[in-house]
Amino acid sequence: MTQLPSYYKFWHKLGHYSLKFGAWSVLFFLILPILVIIPLSFNAEPFFSFTRGMVTLDPDSYSLRWYNNIVTNDNWLLAVKNSFIIGIFSTIIATILGTLAAVGLSSQYMPFKRVIMLIILSPMIVPLIIVAAGMFFFYTKFNLAGSFAGLVIAHSALGIPFVIITITATLSGFDRTLYFAGLSSGASPVRSFVDIVVPIIRPGVISGAMFAFITSFDEVVVVLFLAGPGQRTIPRQMFSGLREQINPTILAVATLLIAISVIFLVTLEVLRQRSNRLRGLEGHN
């Protein structure tokens, strides 16, 4: 590098340190609110704030009572069960329909690609309140409101864009000649699809499915409008808890949800790296 005048060096350094400071402050802003919840969920008092005893690490100020609350409360248990049921079924539908469509969409022969893409991705963009209101009007005509089927259909639609995005992304680096090489070496189209394309999109399918699951698992607006008492989900339960009676049980649930997100995040990171390796890309893209 060319020698810079000394006053540049000073400004350069200042710039460097203030950038570093700024970046770390933003990182703290991102992560601290989430971390704060975890110790608070072990609070022995029914408050959302640190007690004196917690700060001095007095073991009596910590307790598992709020976790115990979840396990002994029928409504929470039902919500957990419902969240998984709705999440799993909508993930299956979204993944199957999404994978087929993504393969079609990444074909160079796909007609009206741009318009179709725009439609398929729109559930991600249209505000949930509009989706929820519309579904309430429409689904009640088919007796789908207040039913598991209705929620599964709704959540599938919301999860589909994520499946499409992740799979088309894995296919974007895919070297099509591999597929044709398979064809020309005598394999049937189906055979070469299963042998060549499937292994490549598999990480995309799995991460798309995870996105679809978490979308359903976290969704609350549609649930607010469509679900009856029998279909309450975790976020729905949290929503009404936060509106009505603020209670550290919610913090305990939140902590468990954070643990789930960490697991998902790590899995995805592993998948992404593997996908990059498979597609011959290096490191971070």
Binding site: I31, M110, P111
Partner: protein, 432 residues
């Protein structure tokens, strides 16, 4: 659409051309074969997408269509008082209608009171003429006890005796208007407009609520977008220029909030900001403040929580664009004597614009339609347009108005989405 069919034709020719360019001399027959083959591929590709499109048509598009319809369509009054409405057709619209109309109304009201539908009727009329709900309900309550024979003879007198408001044309005009099955009224209301007595569209005289709320929503969304930019840009820059191992590790800190439930993050802000929350307790114990600050349930808390929630959507596209910008340009510019700031503005910043606009548009689009966070931390000040839609859906049960407000919001969002697609491409949305 015509564009895409041209492209399609080109694609066919290009493929055939490409094949011949590769050194194959194609006969006419072979060209025909190639075209058929391409058509077959197209059909195959399209048929893979069809199930999804059908599913979305039912699960997603039709519901939105039925919302648009709900904004125009309201048969309730027409179904409830058909007789009164048909007698009202002859009315000149000026003075008190004649006894035939009044008799029909009295009869209808008694019937409605007995079938417990008077509330439905009064709620509809009340939307046209605020205050008329109590007139209708108390009249219905009185007429419920009247004998049928008595009603037939002097229903008009009984009605007028029940409430004086029936002698004024106002309420009748409202019933007439509410009797229309299709109406643009809800859309007008959503735009703070109304029709005057001669049917011209004018600016609504009473409260100007919704335009103010739309403006406020856009203002909040803009503030949040700018804050995300302000926070996201330096962090993305720092991450993009950090050694890749460190960047990958720090990226997890960005992705964790992204993957954490929205409600968890909102809960966190409630814990931090409430009167006895973490921030107030901290500030009090350090002695910076002597009384807890009012942080939660304000516009401020809405902005902070939403900035936190949407920040990753800004960082991800910025980061991926910045990774692609070669830092040596920047250095080269400096070594040629440009000041760092000048070099940054002239060289680096323009190169990051694609990521910046992608992130900013996405954050803006998402925040315009946000519901949950303002509902939970916004109090009365921090409410956005989605919250008033939810209010009309769940509290005031004015579904047609909710649908009209929702349709306007949808138009706004689709315009933004179209812009996004035009400049960035919808399929380029970053998920990490």
């Amino acid at each position: 659409m015509s564009d895409s069919s041209v492209n399609k034709a080109n694609a066919v020719n290009n493929d055939a051309d490409a094949m011949s360019a590769q050194g194959y001399a194609l006969s006419k027959k072979e060209m025909g074969f190639a075209r058929r083959e391409i058509r077959r591929h197209k059909l195959l590709a399209f048929s893979l997408v069809v199930p999804l499109l059908l599913f979305l048509a039912f699960a997603f598009i039709a519901p939105i269509g039925s919302m648009l319809h709900q904004g125009f369509y309201n048969p309730v009054v027409n179904d409830l008082v058909p007789e009164t409405l048909s007698t009202l057709k002859e009315w000149d619209g000026k003075a008190q209608p004649n006894d035939i109309v009044l008799n029909a109304m009295a009869k209808d009201l008694k019937r409605l009171a007995l079938t417990r539908d008077s509330g439905k009727f009064s709620a509809e009329i009340n939307r046209y003429l605020p205050g008329s709900s109590s007139v209708i309900k108390s009249s219905a309550r009185k007429l419920k006890r009247a004998e049928d024979a008595d009603l037939a003879d002097n229903g008009a007198q009984l009605l007028l005796a029940a409430n004086d408001a029936w002698s004024k044309p106002k309420i009748w005009r409202s019933i007439q208007q509410a009797g229309n099955i299709y109406t643009d009224r809800n859309y007008l209301t959503a735009l703070d407009l109304e029709r005057n007595q001669s049917g011209e569209i004018i600016v609504r005289e009473s409260a100007q609520v919704y335009m103010k709320l739309y403006t406020k929503t856009l203002k909040l969304a803009l503030i949040i977008t700018l804050l995300c930019l302000l926070f996201g840009y330096p962090l993305a820059y720092y991450l993009a220029n950090a050694p890749s191992k460190k960047a990958n590790l720090l990226m997890i800190l960005v992705m964790l909030p992204f993957w954490t439930s929205l409600l968890v993050r909102t809960t966190a802000w409630i814990a931090l900001l409430q009167t006895n929350g973490v921030i107030n307790t901290l500030l009090l114990s350090v002695g910076i403040i002597s009384e807890p600050l009012e942080l939660l349930y304000t516009e401020f808390s809405t902005i902070v929580a939403m900035t936190h929630i949407l920040l990753p959507f800004m960082i991800l596209p910025l980061y991926s664009v910045m990774k692609g910008v070669d830092p040596s340009y920047f250095r080269a510019a400096m070594s040629m004597g440009a000041r760092p700031i000048g070099a940054f503005i002239q060289v680096y910043f323009p190169a990051t614009l694609p990521g910046l606009s992608a992130g900013a548009l996405l954050v803006f689009i998402i925040s315009v339609g946000y519901y949950i966070t303002p509902a939970l931390v916004g109090g009365t000040d921090g409410q956005m347009i989605s919250n008033i839609i939810a209010f009309h859906m769940q509290q005031s049960n004015n579904w047609s108005l909710a649908a009209a407000l929702g349709s306007l919001l949808l138009v706004l969002i689709l315009a933004l989405y179209w812009t996004y697609d035009k400049f960035i491409g919808a399929s380029n949305i970053k998920l990490g």
